[in-house]
């Protein structure tokens, strides 16, 4: 095998094939650690907050939230876009980087994909429960055949596009993730020492036997799914952005939104991947698999996409001025200088200014600092969505309807709750499934054997 002279190997620590299997399977085959229990419990408690707040919302009404006659979307849709954005890194890593033959993705794609799936689940909760009548929502919002003649869904509505975009995205991501898991699940099955373990992993391994035929199929399907996923990286957030872009509200009605949202999504997705992996590599002793090199590569993407998003912010401002439309001009001035200036300032700092530190090598290679920065990025991107949604609505065309908006405990609880959902699933994932794609990592192992 050709060995590039200048590149560091992707997997450090002079691993043998058996080491990979042993090390990555070890959390699955051993009792969970105290840290795991602590994290899981905390996440589960947060998840209960979601259960309670959703129950309260459905039982009492959307009136339990802080939204009002002018700002009819608040934290709910902010969180929706936030979570959808988070998901994008997984798809990008697994699909686009696969097509570009970026081998460094192999040790992180599994967890990034898992993150995608959990994030989309969290995201889906918001459009579902922001409906005033969630009990009839899915019935009317899906194009089910009915006897009402022309009364069907409205294909003009971006919300309907969302329904299709997100369900497609979720299905493809889930399939892709599961497909990648099959060889590893088979490995666990083969290593299993108990009957139950053998049985369950056996079922999910779907009869994988490691033959050349299965590997061939695996490679082909992977490539096809990567092909399908690639446009999804662009389309999903494009369509989400159209919820706003196709409207008439100044601050929403902006053609720049699709690329701007996609860049933002990748930015926030990598932010979240970094958050998770910096923790995972140290707590699960995976430093040799998820190396500083990985982190550095991702910080570069964060810096690039952060700057793209920043450029979009500035472009919006320029266009608002250049358009000569007084409502647009006011909307953007109001963002920066109005009552929600602090949200705008947070967004600007976190997304545009802060990631510039990654020009410095130390910043790109110091895990604790990267972790800190990843949190900043997450905060910044949450605020971006808040700024777009709330500051545009709270002061639109007629000053008589200008209002202020603040969340209630129910909305805060829902957000904390989806965090709980996300991390609960992530902890379960790290316990029951290999967080690194063992089969593929073995391919890039520079073994001396």
């Amino acid at each position: 095998m050709f060995e590039a002279p200048i590149r560091q190997p992707l997997i450090l620590g002079d691993k043998k094939f058996a080491d990979v299997s042993n090390e990555i399977c070890s959390p699955i085959e051993n009792k969970p650690t105290k840290a795991w229990w602590f994290g899981f419990t905390l996440s589960f408690v947060c998840l209960m907050a979601l259960v309670i707040t959703l129950f309260w919302t459905v039982w009492t009404g959307i009136g339990t939230w802080g939204i009002n006659k002018s700002v009819m979307w608040g934290w709910d849709i902010t969180n929706f876009v936030f979570w959808i954005g988070i998901g994008h890194a997984g798809t990008l890593i697994s699909a686009i980087l696969l097509l570009f033959r970026q081998k460094w993705r192999l040790s992180i794609n599994r967890s990034a994909e898992a993150m995608t799936i959990f994030a989309v689940m969290c995201a889906a909760i918001f459009p579902l429960f922001h409906m005033g009548r969630v009990w009839v929502g899915p019935y009317w919002a899906l194009p089910l055949p009915n006897a009402f003649g022309s009364l069907w869904v409205n294909f003009n509505s971006p919300l309907l596009w969302d329904v299709f975009a997100i369900s497609t995205y979720f299905s493809v991501s889930l399939l892709f993730w599961y497909l990648g898991l099959i060889p590893d699940i088979a490995t666990i099955r083969d290593r299993a020492k108990t009957k139950a373990r053998k049985f369950w992993y056996g079922i999910f391994a779907m009869g994988w036997n490691g033959s050349a035929r299965t590997w061939h199929r695996y490679e082909v399907v992977s490539l096809i799914l990567a092909g399908i996923s690639t446009p999804l990286v662009l389309s999903v957030h494009t369509i989400v952005s159209m919820d706003f872009a196709t409207s008439v509200i100044p601050g929403w009605h902006t053609t720049i939104f699709p690329p701007y949202f996609v860049a933002g999504a990748i930015f926030s997705g990598f932010g979240m991947v970094l958050t998770l992996l910096v923790i995972a590599r140290s707590t699960m002793k995976l430093e040799n698999y998820i190396t500083i090199g990985h982190l550095e590569a991702m910080t570069k993407i964060v810096m690039l996409t952060g700057s793209m998003v920043g450029l979009a912010y500035i472009t919006e401002f320029f266009i608002a001025w250049y358009s000569g439309v007084e409502y647009e001009q006011y909307a953007f001035l109001n963002r920066a200088t109005g009552p929600y200036w602090w949200a705008y300032a947070t967004m600007m700092f976190c997304n545009l200014v802060a990631p510039q530190v990654f020009w410095f090598k130390w910043c790109r290679t110091t895990p604790w600092f990267i972790f800190f920065m990843s949190i900043i990025v997450n905060i910044g991107m949450w605020f971006e969505r808040f700024v777009i949604i709330v500051t545009s609505l709270h002061r639109d065309y007629l000053p008589s309807s200008w209002v202020m908006y603040g969340p209630t405990w129910v909305e805060v609880g829902m957000f904390v709750g989806t965090m709980g959902l996300f991390f609960t699933f992530f902890f379960l994932f790290s316990k029951f499934l290999p967080v690194i794609n063992m089969a593929e990592v073995k391919v890039i192992l520079k073994s001396k054997e």
Binding site: G132, Y397, S400
Partner: protein, 1030 residues
């Protein structure tokens, strides 16, 4: 028959033991534990077999139960269908509105025996078809669960009127026998029937006398007219003939005398298409609804009003060559406003009008003198066809209270009056009432006075009443019941007749009251009873207005005014009435409190209004809580509201709050606001609503959030309301509407070539902002009441709202941008200058409902097609289809969509009329009640369009213009809203669409709204139209 057994179960059978034979007779040898089971003692430790039994029974029972249809509650078909009543078809009756003292003709819409909507009677010029917000709301008081259900003796229900009457007659008899005097306290009484009953009562009890008590006094004017012309009346003011109107504080469009009529008349000269447009100048301290409509509004200290009047008189006298009043002062307001007013008035001699709110006799005398000087009597002021609004005399009532305190009055009968609440000294009157032997109240619902009364003989609601009233000399209004009495109540006049031994007895199938009222009408008004009842009013012809000469010399009045205004008081406290709650009689009616105040846009509370300068001086901010004391009277806590337009040095508090009524519901109407009536002062025999001395304001807290429906008050320089001056308009009628956008649409146009195409036009010049449409719409369309907290959350549900914007005068013209206004404010504060721009404000009102856009942004974004476009141009909501994404609401540029955040009916959190069976009787059965989680908005009253179409079809004719009515347009006192068919070129609407002033809101978005607005034109000289945006 017993078979021979080959096998036996046990030795008992073989031996044929008697116990066994006995047991054998039962089907189950051990018997069933039925007794235990039914007495509940048995524990259901069921075995397998029992389980199967229970299971089988349950399944069978559940399946049987589910076969049964849920019984429909309360829907009882007519066994014998009453004549004229067809379920689903409304009946209309002409009747009288019992909201004002004097009588007001209305049309009552009745569905299946339930009155559900009131409208002004458009045949009568007493109403002209309009109705105010309070009048609209008053229908709910019929269905108030708080009403007295039976007569009460010492707060205990007595179901039997005979028992009740016998006790009262005995007491009255003993009082009369002992020579103790009896007083009957009525509101200003224009009812011929009640008058007749009272005279019968006095015949029987000669010691009885009537005393009039009104919460709001016009006695200054009455006395002044008596002094001037020998006639103690309130004249009819003809605003439709007044080309120049100068008002000193009189809120004649909102609360003064007869606002609905005045609005209608005032409007006639406010439409610039006609040759003449009136000029309206308002001098006032607080910003009133009327002031907000004035062409030129001048802030004035109302405590100095007399001086300004003298000055105006002198200026006019100088022009007319009449004798000047030798006055030491010649007060003038900023910019020579008095001189300009004099100029305008003089130019419109005989076609002008000066009115004043002041309840000071001397001020009113000078107003009379000014109007005499201008030759307005006989033209714009009519003393002969006078209004019977008020006959309240403070001196007489004071005398009554004193007599009562001294104990010489033994019996008091309060006929629908509530002086314990609104009298300036509640303590004095409650102490005095304790001395009376007999206190009777005829209150309809519990109030402060009926709480003091040993006997409560509840009066019927006006919709349950027969009556004949005379609101204006020679004009009569007839009242007929539109529903059987909801509770065991009796009209006050019947009670009086019963107690005087003239109890009414039914004759045939006619009630005694009917026959009695008919006889009164025949004797005093007209014998054509059926016609009068059908019309609801009768006019015996208008007398020619005479031109009186003024008897009194005003020099004395001038001397009094000058001596009383020697020093400028530090603060004027002005007590005023709010549009809606008015004098507080309707405290238990949620609609009047959910209606935002037309100026402040505050719902539910009263507050201290204060000018910006004054607030800075006193270091007060909006939402601070203050303790206000005047003399010895204290209001412990009142929120502060900084009111643009308010004169420096003045503060205002609304009357009509702080009612201590035992509420039926635990809702925001309970203990609402603070009572300011104790601040009313009796001076020279009249009540004064202006206090100038011993006013202390002390800050006690902060952070009180007033429930405002609008919190941004400037228009930010946007092209939302177009405005021009009359001069500009005369030069070019298109004045603000030249600029048209060159728009390209991505959408196909709808085809309206056949059928109807509904639209609306709103004349911003006619709209006074009174809010009647808001209440009318809420009633028509079952819009829920949400309460103070939800208004604070900015979730009021009104389908129509009235946007109110201020613009602030400065050296650089009128400021409309928050940034500029704040900068100027800061600059003034820094320089220590008064905030003059906060005082000189212009106000505009803009009613806003769904614009029914042809290219509606809401329609495209709804994922489920719950909001769609009709073939007649309506933007429709399908509630069943709506899943509540609220996307439509976000995407509406006009923000007119309302979301059902909670379930607003049958919910104890919203304990208003939708939460009880009685209150629900007001629900319009033609309009769906919306469930939680759906969006709603103005439908252009589609139920009325549909019914008009059906009527036309049944009558085999085309729909005429005006057949289809919308609730807001129907009630508008000034006719500002016009609804109609754009496909009918002859319709009023089509003509208004072609009017030069017509424009659409946010035209440049190309939503193609179907509501046109007509440019506001002000008849003042200063030009301040802003150029249209680039």
């Amino acid at each position: 028959m017993r078979r021979k057994h080959q096998y036996w179960k046990g030795f008992e059978e073989l031996a044929s033991e008697s116990s066994f034979v006995e047991a054998q007779k039962n089907e189950f040898s051990e018997g069933l534990p039925l007794d235990e089971a039914f007495s509940g003692q048995m524990s259901f430790n069921s075995n397998r077999r029992d389980f199967l039994k229970f299971f089988g029974f349950s399944v069978a029972a559940v399946s049987l139960a589910s076969c049964n249809k849920t019984p429909v509650k309360y829907a009882i078909p007519y066994l014998v269908k009453p004549e004229n009543v067809t379920p689903g078809v409304p009946l209309y009756y002409a009747s009288n509105l019992g909201v004002y003292n004097e009588g007001f003709p209305i049309i009552v819409k009745v569905r299946e025996g339930r009155p559900i909507k009131l409208e002004g009677n458009d045949l009568s010029d007493l109403s002209g078809g309009g109705l105010c917000a309070t009048g609209q709301a008053s229908i709910l008081s019929l269905y108030d669960t708080n009403r007295y259900k039976n007569p009460q003796i010492k707060s205990k229900d007595v179901a039997d009127w005979n028992l009740f009457d016998s006790q009262i007659t005995a007491k009255l008899g003993s009082i009369a026998a002992s020579g103790g005097s009896i007083r009957i306290i009525t509101r200003t009484n224009t009812s011929l029937v009640l008058k007749a009953a009272i005279s019968k009562f006095i015949e029987k009890y000669p010691t009885a006398q009537t005393v009039v008590y009104d919460p709001i006094s016009y006695s200054g004017m009455l006395i002044a007219n008596e002094k001037s012309f020998g006639r103690k009346v309130i004249p009819m003011y003809k605003f439709d003939k007044a080309e120049v109107v100068v008002s000193f504080g009189a809120d004649f469009l909102g609360t003064w005398i007869s606002p609905v009529r005045f609005s209608k008349d005032y409007r006639k000269l406010r439409i610039p298409g006609n040759e003449v447009m009136s000029r309206h100048i308002q001098f006032e301290s607080l910003l009133s609804l009327t002031g907000s409509n004035a062409d030129s509004r001048v802030p004035m200290r109302e405590s100095r009003e007399g001086l300004y009047l003298i000055s105006l008189y002198n200026k006019l006298a100088a022009k007319g060559g009449a004798g000047l009043i030798p006055s030491a002062t010649s007060e003038e307001l900023a910019g020579g406003a008095i001189a300009r007013a004099a100029e305008d008035l003089w130019n419109a001699k005989g076609k002008s009008l000066v009115v004043s709110k002041s309840n000071d006799t001397d001020c009113q005398l000078i107003v009379n003198a000014i109007n005499i000087l201008l030759g307005n009597y006989g033209n714009t002021i009519d003393l002969d066809n006078n209004l019977n609004v008020s006959q309240y005399s403070e001196t007489e009532f004071e005398k009554f209270v004193n007599d009562l305190s001294e104990g010489s009055v033994k019996g008091v009968l309060f006929v629908n009056t509530n002086p314990v609440y609104s009298y300036h000294s509640a303590k004095k009157i409650t102490d005095a009432l304790k001395k009376a032997e007999l206190v009777i109240s005829t209150a309809n619902a519990p109030d402060e006075t009926s709480g003091m009364a040993g006997f409560v003989a509840p009066d019927a609601h006006f919709l349950e009443s027969w009556d004949v009233l005379e609101p204006q000399a020679g004009r009569f209004v007839f009242s007929q019941p539109t529903i059987s009495p909801v509770f065991n109540t009796r009209q006050a006049f019947e009670s009086l007749l019963t107690w005087s031994g003239n109890a009414l007895k039914p004759s045939g199938d006619k009630s005694g009251a009917y026959e009695y009222v008919k006889s009164i009408a025949a004797a005093n008004v007209t014998t054509n009873w059926d016609q009068a009842l059908h019309d609801g009013f009768y006019s015996s012809g208008e007398k020619p207005a005479s031109v009186p000469s003024m008897n009194a010399l005003i020099n004395d009045a001038v001397a009094v005014i000058e001596s009383s205004t020697k020093t400028l008081p530090e603060t004027d406290l002005i007590l005023y009435q709010k549009v809606g709650p008015r004098d507080g009689s309707w405290a238990n009616n949620p609609w009047v409190h959910e209606l935002p105040d037309p100026i402040t846009k505050v719902c539910y509370d009263n507050y201290l209004t204060i000018s910006k300068t004054e607030a800075e001086k006193r270091k007060l901010e909006q939402g601070d809580l203050v303790k206000v004391s005047v003399g010895g009277n204290v209001i412990d806590s009142l929120p502060v509201l900084i009111q643009p337009g308010q004169a420096r040095g003045t503060i205002g508090i609304a009357l009509g709050y702080g009612r201590m009524v035992p509420g039926a519901g635990e809702n925001d109407l309970k203990n609402l606001g603070k009572n300011a009536f104790p601040f009313v002062l009796l001076m020279n025999g009249t009540s004064t609503y202006i206090r100038t001395s011993e006013i202390r304001i002390e800050k006690i807290g902060s952070g009180y959030e007033l429930a405002q429906t609008q919190s941004h008050h400037s228009i930010e320089g946007r092209d939302i309301i177009r405005e021009a001056t009359f001069e500009e308009y005369k030069k070019d009628p298109f004045v603000t509407n030249h600029h048209k956008h060159d728009l390209i649409s991505l959408w196909d146009e709808y085809d309206y070539s056949t059928g109807h195409h509904w639209g609306m036009a709103i004349d911003l010049n006619a709209c006074t902002g009174c809010g009647a449409c808001v209440v009318s719409c809420s009633i028509e369309n079952n819009v829920p009441v949400v309460g103070r907290d939800e208004v604070r959350m900015r979730r009021e549900m009104h389908w129509i709202r009235i946007d109110r914007y201020y613009s602030f005068e400065s050296d650089k013209g009128f400021l409309t941008k928050e940034k500029d206004i704040d900068a100027l404010t800061k600059q003034n504060t820094k320089a220590g200058k008064p905030q003059v721009h906060y005082e000189n404000v212009k106000v505009v009102h803009m009613p806003l409902m769904c614009q029914h856009c042809d290219h509606a942004p809401c329609e495209t974004v709804c994922p489920v097609l719950a909001t769609t476009h009709s073939s007649e141009g309506l933007n429709q909501m399908t509630y069943n289809r709506c899943i509540g994404t609220k996307y439509c609401g976000n995407n509406c540029p006009y923000k007119v969509r309302r979301f059902n955040w909670f379930r607003y009916n049958d919910n104890d959190q919203f304990d208003y009329h939708f939460n009880n069976d009685l209150g629900k009787m007001v629900i319009n059965p033609d309009v769906t009640m919306r469930t939680r989680g759906v969006m709603e908005k103005c439908s252009f009253c589609i139920q009325n369009i549909q019914s008009a179409k059906l009527t036309a079809k049944r009558e085999n004719r085309k729909l005429k213009d005006g057949d289809a009515k919308v609730a807001c347009a129907r009630t508008c006192p000034s006719g500002a809203i016009v609804f109609g068919d754009l496909n009918d070129p002859e319709s009023e609407l089509s003509k208004l669409y072609k009017n030069e002033r017509s424009y659409h809101l946010l035209e440049e978005l190309d939503t193609k709204p179907k509501v046109a607005y007509l440019t506001k034109i002000r008849n003042n000289k200063s030009t301040n139209t802003k150029p249209h945006h680039s």
